[in-house]
């Protein structure tokens, strides 16, 4: 038995905005009866504002609640606002969903995306998830979708992918492929400066990113600090040393070596061989690391 939140049960029992808008300005249809859940979202859009949203769904309690939540989240909102709604917003609105039911919230996000693309006269099929190779034949899930949902929800295990996309939940023959995709994805993501592909974002932000976004100074500093913490400090601390980030000026990263590293002859080697190499690999190949006071 699933443990549904009160809000999920409430939206399942009294779903909001059920139905179909007759002269809808946008329609999004995702899922299929074969897969066990399907959602049809219709929107009335006026002057860039979603005046009305209605849904019909074939699916379990959490699929009904997710669709109901979605319509509540977007009604009366501007198009620019709803573009960035993701499955996470639906989950948050519902006070959580069981892990195994996350795919219901993903279906909500997809229906919204399909409807927004339909409004622009584009078809989702030509746009995103249907591009790429079908990995899970049972549920027709592509590698593009797996990567997108993994990044957007920070998923690292195959089980999580199955919970969010259903991929691998059928015959199971693609499980090893999903594992490969995840390995590749996360290895590469660490090399991409910032959320470069924009996978982790809603539709609006993602399109902005894809049209050529650059890492901001803040993003760069955050990224460098993350790498220092995860990759560098554990090594230095083994020898009783430590490192502090002082400043970042263009591609010059100014640091201070501390503890046992201070005054050690090998300090330069540490800076150039370890810190600089790592930051060049993971952030920007142009980076130069300089010790504080020596710049």
């Amino acid at each position: 038995m699933w443990e549904y939140s009160k809000k999920v049960m409430n939206h399942y029992e009294n779903p909001r905005n059920v139905g179909e808008i007759e002269d809808a300005d946008a329609t999004g249809e995702v899922g299929s009866l074969i897969c066990g859940d399907a959602l049809k979202l219709t929107l009335k859009i006026d002057n860039g504002i979603i005046k009305d949203a209605k849904f019909k769904t074939f699916g379990c309690g959490s699929a009904i609640a997710s669709a109901s939540a979605l319509t509540e989240l977007i009604k009366g909102k501007k198009l620019e606002e709803v573009r960035d709604i993701t499955n996470k917003d639906i989950v948050k609105y519902l006070g959580g969903l069981p892990q195994e039911k996350m795919h219901c919230s993903v279906m909500g996000q997809e229906a919204l995306e399909a409807a927004l693309l339909d409004f622009k006269g584009e078809k989702k099929a030509e746009k995103e998830d249907d591009e790429g190779e079908i990995i899970c034949k049972c549920f027709g899930v592509t590698d593009t979708k797996i990567k997108r949902v993994a990044l957007s929800n920070n998923l690292h295990s195959v089980e999580e992918i199955t919970n969010y996309t259903k991929a691998g939940g059928g015959c199971g023959s693609c499980l090893y492929k999903i594992e490969e995709i995840l390995d590749d994805l996360w290895r590469n993501v660490d090399r991409i400066p910032g959320p470069g592909l924009g996978f982790g974002l809603g539709l609006g932000e993602r399109q902005k990113k894809l049209s050529g976004g650059k890492m901001t100074v803040v993003q760069k500093i955050k990224r460098i600090e993350e790498i220092l913490e995860d990759e560098i400090r554990p090594i230095l601390r083994r020898d009783g040393g430590d490192i502090d980030l002082i400043d970042v000026v263009d591609n010059k990263v100014i640091v201070r070596l501390m503890g046992m590293c201070q005054g050690c002859h090998a300090a330069v080697l540490t800076l150039k061989g370890l810190v600089e190499e790592k930051l060049q690999e993971l952030v920007d190949p142009e980076i130069e690391v300089v010790e504080h006071g020596l710049e």
Partner: protein
């Protein structure tokens, strides 16, 4: 009028009969000895173990020495297959079906890894196997056929006698998982070509945690649980005296209730089934509706265009307990392997509703379900984007 706890999921488990609980209590209170002990406080308890065995044997029409107690139906199924395979290593092929309980079905990949060839027979739209296909599947290397007595999801009863006769002709073993048949239909092993038969107590009003395997006299089998000399060295582990006594009592009651099960309970099942089919459009029975081909307590109805888990949630609000073959309810994302093997269309699989009755089911309860269900179905259908096959085809196009 609202009712409390209308339990129509008796194929999942059953209520412990009050008489069964009474039978068990002394062994959970004062008589806690070990039946293998040399002093009377323990040793005397073996006679209650043997009484339980006799009552089971009486229900199944076999000799008490042919019954080995286990912890559950799944253990019995594992014991049967692996015990025979280990005892006859020269034979490397077995035959089973695509609609078995997971306790058989999920052994298949393991057995294949061990180098055993496994043929899984398909079923037709009503859930029946093809006996000619079975005959053709047998070869020199075949050790055994394992085919369930009655299916847990549809209640379909298999032609056990005919399968057993084929097995005898070809000199191979025949095991049947009778977990869903014992206590529901008459079984007389003295007059049936069955070599091994699995059963479990909690499907006929004993508690969970006790089962058994019938092993025809003279059959060599390796123990699955290796341990002491209990169960004539065929199953190690201290005898579960209270549960064995309880299951014995349940067997005695089941024998007494067989007539009621096949008259009153069957009538209630038919009333429920007919009521649903006539009151709710686009519904159909999954399985074989011929009286002899189905256990009397079970119906599986496909309700088109709605999803089973949503249906169960709604029924739960009215304290009605039932089951579905829908993917969403299983947590596995895959809908029922039984209904899919039968070729039931997906429109029907996801919306399948299994209702299973017992001798404790009352007519009032059946009337109540018939009163509540149509409203729930029409509410869910209003939510659904599908109302016809055309809708389904056009969706997303």
């Amino acid at each position: 009028m609202a009712l409390n706890n209308i339990y129509l999921d008796n194929n999942a488990t059953t209520k412990v009969a009050p008489e069964v609980l009474e039978e068990m209590l002394p062994f959970l209170r004062e008589s806690y000895g070990n039946p293998s002990s040399m002093y009377s406080f323990g040793g005397e308890l073996s006679k209650y173990v043997e009484r339980g065995r006799e009552r089971i044997a009486d229900l199944l029409g076999c000799h008490p020495r042919e019954i080995v107690f286990t912890s559950c139906g799944s253990e019995s199924d594992n014991f049967a297959l692996r015990g025979l395979i280990d005892a006859y290593p020269e034979k490397r092929h077995i035959i089973t079906t695509k609609v078995e309980h997971p306790a058989i079905k999920n052994q298949v990949p393991y057995l294949r890894k061990k180098g055993i060839r496994v043929t899984e027979l398909g079923v037709d739209r009503k859930g029946n196997i093809d006996l000619d296909e079975l005959r053709q599947a047998i070869d020199e290397d075949t050790l055994l056929i394992s085919c369930m007595f009655a299916n847990n999801e549809t209640g379909v009863v298999y032609p056990i006698r005919l399968i057993g006769e084929i097995a005898r002709e070809r000199n191979i073993f025949f095991h049947t998982d009778a977990v869903q048949a014992v206590g529901k239909i008459p079984i007389d092993l003295s007059d049936m070509p069955v070599d091994l038969l699995s059963f479990t107590g909690h499907k006929f009003h004993a508690p969970k945690g006790i089962g058994g395997l019938y092993i025809r006299r003279g059959i060599k089998i390796r123990p699955f649980i290796i341990g002491g000399h209990q169960e004539r060295s065929r199953r190690g582990g201290t005898e579960n005296v209270p549960y064995i006594a309880g299951m014995g009592k349940a067997a005695e009651l089941a024998k007494k209730n067989l007539h009621e099960e096949n008259t009153r309970v069957r009538k209630l099942r038919d009333k429920l089934e007919q009521g649903i089919l006539s009151q709710i459009e686009d519904t159909e029975v999954n399985g074989d509706t011929e009286t002899e081909n189905r256990v009397p307590n079970t119906t599986n109805i496909g309700i088109h265009f709605i999803e089973g888990e949503a249906l169960l949630l709604a029924l739960d609000k009215y304290h009605i307990a039932a089951s579905t073959g829908s993917a969403c309810a299983s947590g596995s994302l895959q809908p029922s392997h039984v209904l899919r093997a039968m070729g039931v269309p997906f429109t029907c699989v996801h919306g399948s509703l299994r209702l299973s009755l017992s001798v404790y089911t009352t007519e009032k309860e059946i009337d109540y379900v018939l009163e509540i269900l149509p409203g729930i179905v029409s509410r869910l259908r209003e939510l659904s984007p599908f109302h016809s096959m055309e809708d389904i085809k056009a969706f997303g196009a």
